[in-house]
Amino acid sequence: MNRYLPWLFVALLASVPLWLTDFYFLHILITTGIFIIAAMSLNLLLGYTGQLSLGHVAFFGIGAYTSALVSLGFQVELFSGFTVSLAPKPAWFAMLCGVIVAGFTGYAIGKLSFRVRGAYFVIVSISFAEVVRLVAVNWVELTQGPMALTNIPALTLGAGAFEISFLRKPAFFILVLIAGVASFILISRLVNSRAGRAMIALRENESLAMSVGIDVTRYLVIATIISAAIAGMAGALYTHYIRIVDPDIFLFIYTVTMVIMVVTGGKGTLAGPIVGGIIFGFVPEFLRAMAIQPEVQWIIYGVLMVLVVYFLPQGIVPAIGRYSASRKRLPDADALPATSTQVRQK
């Protein structure tokens, strides 16, 4: 039964455009979906590999800006006389570039940052995101600064009679759903594998991990690359949906949102970011419906974070797992986050 539940859930979601006619609600689902993908990618780094990287929004934003710039085309003068220019490319290609550039940034950051550990690493990650934001604000020739990149083309696939345009919300929702499911499957395969065990091992006890031959740096970098690439994809999706991108996309507050989603939902679990994303994607709408100001919403978020850390330090999903295990009165390995679902067979 449990095996088919996720697929039922996906099927249910896939049917949404057929019966949901309220486009505003569909918009909420789309943006929440994009944020869930970003949260899942953060969970890989924060939850499974145990690195409190608070610069994650940088990967999201780099994916967004790269995709925007490649699809719009650009021309910049790097230094006296030396100009780099690119003609506009199709959106799908731009999105691919977004993913690759974000992934590559992850590689560079990973290689450099993990020489620095613990609290210092947190600070470096935040600083990196801030520097990227300030570059986006100030390098007006490339990014238009605060005036934003506008008229970003929508994604279209195929040609002629077989062309599908992801301009309208129902189609884009399906796109986000597919991207989300693909990301989930990818991450799930990764964390339940030998590589995933290595990442969890270095989270749990680095010296012990090294002593069994695990190259800690290598797996930190792998986790960062994949995490950054998925975040970059989420950013690229965002860009071609909203079709405007400005430096505010790099604000620290978005990293915080992702962190809240992951931590509240349950870091180190596959379902955690989804649960967290649903809660924190819909809560603002719920509050807005009650005519509560955005500041109060954030105050509630802040208080919620503190309460979750105190009372449900592992998050909601593991807590549910423990509760249902105690109801069944069976030893439940699933209550432990990140336990492999492999069966011990001979």
Binding site: R189, A195, R197, E204, L208, M210, S211, V212, G213, L336
Partner: protein
Amino acid sequence: MNAQPETVLSIEHVTVHFGGLVALADMTFSVRAGEIVGLIGPNGAGKTTAFNVITGFLRQTSGDVRYRTTLLNGLKPHQIAKLGLVRTFQRTSVFQERSVFQNVLTGLHCRGRARLWDTLLQTGREKASERELVNEANDILRFVGLERRAEEPAGTLPYGEQRLIGVALALAVKPSMLLLDEPVSGMNPSETARFVKLVREIRDTGVTILLVEHDMPMVTQVSDRIVVLNYGRIIAEGTPAEIQNDPEVIRAYLGQGKKRA
């Protein structure tokens, strides 16, 4: 008839300074293939420091460590483990939150054949490799006698059994030499006796063993040879019988209080 067994581990004039403190002073000894060597000494003598230097967790101030013919100086711990020289830890020797089975499966890391792409695409090679690893993990658990505890979180096991998990982890790397750091601390006498038997079984599979211990009867029982450390310096080396009668050794231990029975 066999020729003289080759030297697998050689420590040559290794010195470790921490600021003004001398943790190891001109330490030189070697371990031959198939031996069980015990490293003993009063608290603070430098035994764990020696382990840390040998396995790459600490850089020595001077001196060389060689494994077979490979110079280990400057190598990272995971590289040394891959060469076949594997250690256990005295404290935090397991992944607490994970099950015993998952612990051993993690230790089998180097035995996996599949690449990252195989994992992401779930190819046949990935699935075959995982099956092999699961089988090997079961074998190792049976070998150390923990198969009944496989699904329990490692941190919930009694301390003595956690040491066994630590050994299982090390065995998973398929070492040719094992460095055991106080393996029987926290074990009761019957567990210790079982462990001595296990150590001999491991040696019989062709693994050379160097162990650090405070439990004197256990060390004298299991070791072919004993090296005695005091204040970072080797003060005696020989068979258990020779060591027990060595005046230097007696002085070193009496100076620190009674030997533990």
